[in-house]
Amino acid sequence: MSDAPRPPIESGCPDGFQYMHPVMIKNYGNWAYHEDPQPGVLLHVAKSGDKIWTVRVGTQRILDLFTLRLLCDIADEYADGYVRFTIRSNIEYMVADEAKVQPLIDKLREEGFVVGGTRNSVTMISHTQGWLHCDIPGTDASGVVKSMMDELHDEFVSWNMPNRVHITTSCCQINCGGQGDIAINVQHTKPPRINHDLVANVCERPSVVARCPVAAIRPALVDGKPSLEVDEKKCICCGACFPPCPPMQINDAEHTKLAIWVGGNHSNARSKPTFHKLVAAGIPNNPPRWPEATAIVKKILKTYKEDAKDWERINDWIERIGWPRFFELTGLPFTKFHIDNWRGSRKNLNASTHIRF
């Protein structure tokens, strides 16, 4: 056998049809409507009259081989052997026979999985890697999500929310978790601590300077060594310098906090897509269970559930009731930090006499 390295086959994104349920292939592009027989179950009806049931299941997202094989065994024994994953890491089983639905659900529950996450539920929190694997994290996404989903379980398996709720988490201010109806993101509160012994050897200094959103970093000689210094009055503590320059440590056991944002909505339904807005910060980054963050999320969800109308996503609800009412109803403090001062910020001020009393 030759020692020559094997050249890669640049096959790219695989064709999904080879793994697709035959009923889905047959009716591709020809579906008529869907119904929701029970939480966690979708029934899609094709124009041909064919039907397919989908059972949506919450998992721990980071799957071990035992769990993955168990999910496969269930697919073979109780379903038709075809699955897919949603954008929020729920696994979906598709079956063409209604009689298979309930035994499949029963088996999944028996094995400790959670069936739900459809329609107006709180579905799985989309999240990032965190301490388990990321090189710049301020917190652990998997632990935050596990802790919150333990408490939001009842909302995952039911249809009690006014509309669907998408929660996201992110472990740094790059916010890989994305926009969410509710987003739990890291918010640093102190400038980076710089190890000047390492900067010159580890960091490409001009690109670190260029990376700063507020031009607070400049080259400097520190103790005779070429390094970087931060204008701490300008610094917004975003941590953008940390990935290209690990000696500029932004994470801090005490000063790295969590912040909660609400009203991000990717859909074009009703209003145009929206970004989420800051509602709470200074929340302790408190492993292993992060109770303070979960309490605020639950408070927001409870208020939304009680006050919003059917079909209102969190952004639609707040648009109707106004931000002062949101802070009043949730009891969250309104501070000077809620008032935007980033570029274009005046568009976020109230230039009208539209005021609710």
Binding site: P8, G29, I87, K146, R270, W311
Partner: protein, 417 residues
């Protein structure tokens, strides 16, 4: 000898009703027959416990790749490898999933078997960019694992400043709202740029995402540099008998409150005979009424896509939405699809030449202005691209007559068909 660690904080994450990732890792550590996997997982738990105690991460990047590629691997070297040696190297392979994230149990087992030979036994479906994440292996085994799965149809995704793994929704395979062949668009676009994915040489990342309708389940407008969203331009379809059934079941008040008055352009009216009247010229295809009454209302027949460019998250200038570049494009013939790929090629070429280092397309457009970008990629201006015209008078308009003439000519050509 497998080294174990005390993990009192992580142990607390094994309680509760939601499936626990810690229990999964611990099961690999305690019950997997292979000592290599046991050691790696015990060591990983040890380092993670250390992170929980100190509230810090201890992974550092580096350079790891497979032969012939420059990207696709997330290298991870432990900063505390002396204390947790069995997971000292713990790299992730990003592997592109099939469009729509479909799998058979047989294929998942085959991937699991390969990963069992070379990796930690931990897999995520999927990371936020959309890749299958095979989490935790050594530099040497990265190559072995890739060689094995590459032989049966799997390729690495993107990592670094390159075209990234794309995402598309379940779409036409199982959704009545689908207005496009998401699967075909996804694969055609991203597979055209394999060189730009596997050999990172762009200013920064470039993401494609495809959603079959304006519900945009893939978050394409918020998260993709190049978002392709299915839509239609003729009249939506109304099954009046089904409308009447909704009214009968839910009541007039419910339909008025939840459908009629929620229409963002007041394009709906519920008539006295419980039929629905739609002002299709003013419908903006927001999907709300179709979502509520999916049995009665559906997209029209003249389907196509809208293309929006420039979405991204916070770094560096703040979050940006993608904005309309192509209001409507038919995707029927091979030429139609080719034109879409050409638009993506023009966009990536312009991005490669004009963006600053670590600048996304949206930031580049913000810096140079949309018009310069449009001229660069050869797309004409269109009023669908804006919320409203310019509000500030500080602009030079000395070429006004020529530009107005261009528009008049375009409109005349359009009228002539």
């Amino acid at each position: 000898m497998v080294k174990k660690y005390e993990t009192p904080m992580l142990d607390q994450l094994e309680d509760g009703v939601w499936p626990s990732f810690i229990s999964g890792i611990r099961r690999l550590a305690n019950e997997h027959p292979e000592e290599r996997i046991q050691s790696m997982c015990h060591s990983l738990l040890g380092q993670l416990e250390h992170s929980y105690e100190t509230r810090k991460g201890y992974w550092k990047g580096g350079t790891v790749s497979v032969f012939g590629y420059g990207g696709g691997i997330i290298p991870r070297f432990s900063e505390v490898g002396d204390a947790f040696p069995a997971s000292r190297e713990f790299h992730t392979l990003r592997v592109q999933p099939p469009a729509g994230n479909y799998y058979t149990s047989d294929m998942l087992r085959q991937l699991a078997d390969s990963w069992e030979k070379y990796g930690s036994g931990l897999i995520t479906f999927h990371g936020q960019t959309g890749n299958i994440m095979f989490i935790g292996t050594t530099t040497e085994n990265v190559q072995h694992f890739f060689d094995e799965i590459n032989e049966y149809g799997w390729d690495l995704g993107g990592a670094g400043p390159c075209v990234r793994t794309a995402m598309s929704c379940v779409g036409a395979a199982r959704c009545e709202q689908s207005c496009a062949n998401e699967h075909k668009i996804h694969r055609l676009l991203v597979n055209n740029f394999m060189d730009d994915m596997h050999r990172p040489a762009l200013p920064y990342k470039f993401k494609f995402k495809v959603s079959g309708c304006p519900n945009d389940c893939q978050n394409a407008i918020e998260r993709a540099d190049f978002a392709v969203i299915g839509t239609w331009r003729d009249d939506m379809k109304v099954d009046q008998d089904e409308v009447k059934k909704y009214v009968e079941t839910k009541g007039r008040q419910y339909i008025i409150d939840n459908v009629i008055s929620r229409c963002p352009t007041n394009a709906l009216a519920l008539k006295d005979d419980d039929t629905l009247e739609v002002d299709n010229r003013n419908c903006v295809r927001c999907m709300h009424c179709l979502n509520v009454m999916c049995k009665a209302l559906s997209p029209g027949d003249d389907k196509g896509v809208t293309v929006l460019i420039g979405g991204k998250r916070t770094l560096k200038i703040g979050d940006l939405m993608g904005t309309v570049i192509v209001p409507f494009k038919k995707l029927e013939t091979d030429e139609d699809y080719e034109e879409l790929v050409e638009l993506a090629e023009e966009t990536i070429d312009f991005f490669a030449e004009n963006a600053l280092e670590h600048e996304r397309t949206g930031e580049m457009i913000e810096r140079i202005g949309l018009v310069n970008f449009l001229e660069g990629i050869g797309v004409e201006v269109d009023p669908h691209m804006i919320n409203n015209p310019r509000e500030c008078s500080y602009v030079r308009t000395d070429m006004w007559d020529e530009e107005a003439e261009k528009w008049n000519r375009r409109m005349a050509e359009k009228a002539a068909g």
